[in-house]
């Protein structure tokens, strides 16, 4: 479905070239792909390159056989790529229902909007008319962000650290959101995460270190070596 070919992302900092991503090659075809690695290893940068928010300084992206490297964020979204931000954006005046309608790409009923909110564990009635502004907590925003991607239901969805702020809800619920989503879209879901519980459902795990793919493979191949290395956080660390 999505092929990353030799993706590089260099920036200039104080006159020196900094390699944020170097020669990343990756094929995304599986149901759940977990992207993990230490903070600052380039995970969010890679996700933004997939969504078209950042343009790679080298390499190509091929989506269903088409070279999408030069396509805009909008064009990629229309082709079936969705992205849940690590830090969701706030909007003064745009309500939760507005945002979910925009995500769905059509006018949706209050009932439908509520359905997406309930899936992410928000009591829809309390949220539907709230503005997506600073009055919402980080955790609430995170779940609304996930709901926008659910409402799109595209072939490829990328979630950047979706577990942040969901302590009061539960990982099991988050996991069932992904499972249900897969049943609907039959596509690929890329989840950037440090959490063992989430890595545990991955069909493929990719470990990014200092902008390079250090290892990739099935859960069975990768997960045991991650436990205890600090790359992967067990659930208990967080709670």
């Amino acid at each position: 479905m999505l092929e990353l070919q030799n993706i590089c992302f260099d920036v200039e900092e104080n006159g020196a070239i900094k390699h944020i991503l170097s020669d990343v090659c990756l094929t995304i075809n599986d149901r759940f792909v977990a992207l993990t690695g230490p903070n600052g290893s380039g995970k969010s940068t890679l996700a933004k390159i997939i969504a078209g928010i950042l343009t790679p300084t080298g390499g190509k992206l091929i989506f269903n056989g088409e070279d999408i490297t030069a396509l805009s964020v909008t064009e990629r979204a229309k082709r079936g790529i969705s992205f849940a931000f690590q830090q969701p954006v706030r909007f003064k005046g745009i309500t939760v229902k507005d945002l979910i309608s925009l995500a769905a790409g059509k006018h949706i009923t209050v009932g439908e909007a509520c359905g997406f909110l309930s899936e992410v564990g928000l009591c829809a009635r309390d949220y539907i008319d709230r503005e997506v502004n600073a009055s919402l907590s980080g955790g609430e925003l995170k779940r609304i962000e996930i709901a926008t991607v659910l409402a799109r239901g595209t072939e490829l969805s990328v979630f950047d650290e979706p577990e942040a702020g969901i302590d009061l809800w539960s990982f099991q619920n988050l996991i069932s959101v992904f499972e249900k989503m897969y049943q609907k879209t039959q596509g690929s879901i890329v989840i950037i995460s440090h959490q063992e519980r989430i890595l545990n459902i991955a069909d493929k795990i990719v470990v990014l270190t200092a902008g390079k793919i250090e290892r990739e493979g099935t859960r069975e191949e990768i997960l045991p070596s991650l436990l205890g290395t600090g790359v992967c956080r067990a659930l208990t660390d967080k709670l």
Binding site: I53, T74, A77, F83, V89, I94, D98, E131, T148
Partner: protein, 306 residues
């Protein structure tokens, strides 16, 4: 009434037909329908100025007054004085609005001076919309002035909206509040092209525990210019808050001038002003939902001004 006049009425007063309750419709300087009710009396002024006096009896509840103004002539200027006398403990909705359709090349101008005398304990929601259209090159000018006198424990909520088609506006609002009175202002302005909008609020908090909350949200696009001034004087134990939140686009220019004066150690006054372009990340987020950059901007502005 023709289609054009109906369209203007719809824009400024959400009126599809003759309104319920008391109303006075003014069209090109002349009366075009009026109704008084048992509790709300509308009369011509007696001082020679154009305009009306509106008397609302004490304890009037759940009634409304519509006073739309429609102008469809080019090269037409008017100055109108409307005075409202709201009786004690009344609770009413007043909807004013002015729509100008100027398809000529000359200027059309409406200056409305609205004076409100709000009785003790009365509550008024005052909704005012300004709208202009036209296919000529004539200018549409509106210069509303609003003067508010609030008796003890009264509440005045003013919602004023100017979204389209007014080339030049200069709005002056002054309010004087007695003990326990509350003033709430929500202003929304969108300017584009070469439009100019100046709004200026002056609030005197004279009575103990009086309070004012004056909030303006605006968008200035193209080469338009806006100036927002808000002056709150806290003359006793009181609370005042003023906020200007503006989105600036293209080559527009926005000036915000909040001014607070505390004449008492117990006056609590706050001002906030923020002017900036649409956050890039907001546009990007909406683009990831499949909107084009322009559609994203439109949605952000629509939400901001809604």
């Amino acid at each position: 009434m023709d289609e054009l006049e109906k369209m203007l009425l719809l824009q400024v007063a959400d009126l599809h037909r003759v309104p319920d309750g008391a109303y006075n419709i003014r069209k090109n300087g002349e009366g075009d329908g009026r109704r008084s009710t048992d509790r709300i009396r509308i009369e011509d002024r007696k001082d020679g100025h154009a305009g009306i006096d509106i008397f609302i009896a004490p304890n009037t509840k759940n009634e409304s007054v519509h006073i739309p103004v429609v102008i469809t002539k080019t090269d037409y200027r008017e100055r109108v004085y409307n005075d409202f006398y709201v009786g004690e403990n009344a609770d009413v909705l007043i909807i004013a609005g002015c729509g100008i359709h100027n398809c000529g090349v000359e200027t059309s101008e409406h200056t409305g001076v609205h004076t409100f005398h709000i009785g003790r304990g009365a509550k008024v929601r005052y909704v005012e919309k300004h709208y202009g259209s036209g296919d000529g090159n004539g200018e549409n000018i509106m210069n509303p002035a609003t003067v508010i006198y609030q008796e003890e424990d009264s509440r005045f909520e003013m919602e004023s909206t100017q979204i389209k088609g007014i080339d030049s506006t200069d709005r002056e609002t002054t309010a004087t509040l007695k003990k326990g009175a509350e003033l709430v202002v929500r202003e929304k302005i969108y300017t584009h092209g070469r439009q100019f909008a100046r709004t200026n609020f002056t609030v005197d908090l004279n009575g103990e525990n009086s309070g004012a909350d004056v909030v303006s949200r605006s968008v200035a696009a193209d080469d338009s210019r806006q100036t927002f001034g808000s002056r709150i004087n806290g003359n006793t134990a009181c609370h005042g808050h003023t906020e200007c939140d503006a989105i600036i686009m293209d080559r527009a220019c926005v000036t915000a001038v909040p001014e607070l004066t505390a004449n008492s150690v117990d006056a609590e006054l706050i001002h906030e002003a923020a002017i900036g372009k649409i956050a890039g990340e907001q546009i990007i987020k909406l683009m990831t939902l499949g909107l084009t950059e322009q559609e994203a901007e439109e949605q952000i502005i629509k939400g901001f001004l809604s």
